[in-house]
Amino acid sequence: MNQTSPQSATLPPEEVAKIARLARLKLSSDELTLYSRQIGQILDFMNVLREVDTSGIEPMVSAVPCENIFREDIVIESLPRKTVLANAPRTDGKFFLVPNILG
């Protein structure tokens, strides 16, 4: 079961940092090193897929063959504001609050 790849396969730390920024994840330098190695190995493992000829194969986005699922344009009561804000880390009772975006 231990089919893991050689330790040499790493994703360059700058790539890891770039993805982390895109995903808005603060990583410690230890995490950066760890993920560089682990994601490198996993991606290396993914390379097995290259051996499959997939030319002309339609990507399978979903397992259901459904199409044209709609709802009617009928109003359903919204949640009370109190409920809406109940789980928010910071509010003024009316709005969600976030640190000044322009700042």
């Binding site: 982390a20 808005r24 397992a63 459904c66």
Partner: protein
């Protein structure tokens, strides 16, 4: 009303071998037992056992007792709602119920209370089922061992040093440890079947679209389904019966009639053709698991089934395919956890971007971060075609394999996991090895077909091993009947985990 002695026995620890949904239902119907007693019995079991098992994150006994009273009143008035009325279940803490926590096993959602209910929960409530508590899981359903829960480890009731599997760890363990007779889990790549197998209970992943996902906190939307755990096949069938069917709140729930899963459950299937994929019995399969699975298949042969060798040539790509598709979707599904509208917000930030990055960096555990990173990479400019699109193409080939195979057989049988329950801590530093433990379960999620894990036997050291059966889309009725054929011949319900005594 005085109760017959047998029922009080049932409600206590001595009655654990009568703790299946079918038997509880029968006793309720015969008025040998009340729903209140079931809840009390569950609460007693939880208080005496769960400190060792760690299945529950949250228990709401008062609410359950109130529901039990309502159920008992219905029954007294001759208005019982069906086989689940008065029966209690645990709920994976990623399936939302109004007023209840839904931590998803993550620090991110510590203290979060859902303002709405999942459709599956609403339907179970309508059937009289009583949710008792929230079951532990690997964070955001990512994991196979419970070790990714931010809150606690769940231990396998058959061997406390071992994993119950995951990600529906608490669901499986709560049933195996006879704390509740049934549970709801979710299965994205095996998260119901693998823990069911490792804990010796029944676990079913329905056809994609059979059960509404509305209210299931999304990990990988195109792969996952809510499904039942139960000690008995009947319980799984009853739970599925209550939940299945079209839901206008879920555009991917299919508007296909729901079969009657219960009425013919005990009738063995005739002329059954069981497909045996050579790929499932190759290298990497533990010899004891192989023996137990082959014995189970022999049981079918002895009941007249034909065994058909089949091929699933692309199954060897399923792990790699899955670990591109699932993290890609996860990277997007988990973007909403940003510390703005709900969930954890880091106290340390200098601007909006650092608020996001710190909140997410601090609140997500390593496996969640790893998968978000992986998925972000697989979808990012320049890599999407090489990884994401390529994986979806192979996904179609995997589905095609099943379609071809089901031309030759009615069901596909094989192992659920390559090994019995591994030790907690054993694979925690090797994510790839952990991923490979999903090797037999993942393909059903990619293809969207239903699959069940039914207990097949025990290893020499007393660890349960499940048999996996897979069948064409929307043939859960057949799947359940086939599972029942094994259950009837090998009455394992009475076998109790040694930790309970």
């Amino acid at each position: 009303m005085t109760l017959p002695a047998s029922s009080t026995a049932c409600a206590g620890n001595n009655g654990l071998d009568h703790w299946s949904i079918r038997e509880l239902g029968q006793q309720l119907a015969k008025r040998e037992l009340t729903s209140r007693e079931i809840i009390e019995s569950s609460l007693t079991a939880i208080s005496s056992r769960d400190s060792r098992i760690g299945a529950f994150l949250h228990v709401d006994g008062d609410r359950a007792l109130a529901a039990a009273q309502a159920s008992d009143e219905r029954r007294a008035a001759g208005q019982a709602l069906g086989p689940l009325d008065g029966i209690t279940i645990s709920i994976k803490d990623a399936i939302c119920e109004v007023g209840q926590p839904a931590t998803c096993g993550s620090r991110m959602l510590k203290g979060y209370i859902s303002p709405y209910s999942a459709t599956a929960i609403e339907r179970l409530l309508a059937a009289g089922a009583i949710p008792l508590g929230r079951a532990n899981l690997d964070e955001f359903a990512m994991g196979s061992s419970s070790e990714n829960s931010a809150y606690q480890l769940t231990h396998n009731p058959w061997d406390l040093d071992r994993t119950p599997g995951g990600s529906s760890s608490g669901s499986a363990a709560s049933v195996a440890a006879r704390m509740v007779p049934g549970s709801l889990g979710s299965d994205t790549g095996g998260s119901i079947r693998q823990p069911a197998s490792l804990c010796g209970v029944v676990g079913l992943k329905p056809t994609y679209g059979r059960v509404s996902r509305y209210g299931l906190v999304a990990f990988a939307s195109s792969l996952e389904q809510i499904g039942p755990f139960s000690l008995d096949v009947y319980g799984a069938a009853a739970l599925l019966q209550a939940m299945a069917g079209h839901d206008p709140h879920d555009a991917t729930s299919v508007n296909e009639p729901v079969d009657d899963y219960l009425s013919k459950l005990d009738e063995p299937l005739k002329d059954l053709r069981i497909g045996l994929p050579q790929e499932y019995f190759g290298e990497g399969l533990d010899s004891e698991v192989r023996r137990i699975v082959e014995q189970a298949i022999e049981v079918y042969r002895s009941q007249g089934a034909t065994l058909v060798p089949i091929e699933l040539p692309h199954s060897k790509y399923s792990v790699a395919t899955y670990y591109i598709v699932a993290p890609s979707e996860a990277s997007s599904n988990l973007a909403r956890f940003d510390g703005i509208h709900y969930g954890y917000r880091s106290p340390e930030f200098t601007d909006l971007e650092s608020l996001y990055a710190n909140s997410r960096g601090e609140a997500f555990g390593p496996e969640v971060k790893r998968r978000i990173m992986l998925g972000t990479y697989a979808l990012s400019a320049g890599y999407a075609d090489k990884y994401y699109v390529k994986a979806l193409q192979i996904r179609r080939l995997i589905r095609q394999d099943f379609d071809d195979a089901f031309q030759k057989c009615d069901l596909i049988a094989g192992p659920v996991t390559p090994t019995p329950a591994f030790k907690l801590g054993e694979l925690v530093d090797d994510p790839l090895a952990m991923y490979l433990s999903d090797i037999y379960t993942i393909a059903a999620n990619l293809a969207g077909i239903p699959a069940i894990s039914v207990p097949a036997g025990w290893t020499a050291s007393g660890l349960p091993v499940g048999l996996q059966l897979q069948s064409p889309v929307f043939t859960e009725a057949k799947l359940l009947r086939a599972a029942r054929m094994l259950e009837i011949t090998s009455p394992w319900i009475g076998r109790l985990p040694p930790t309970l005594s």
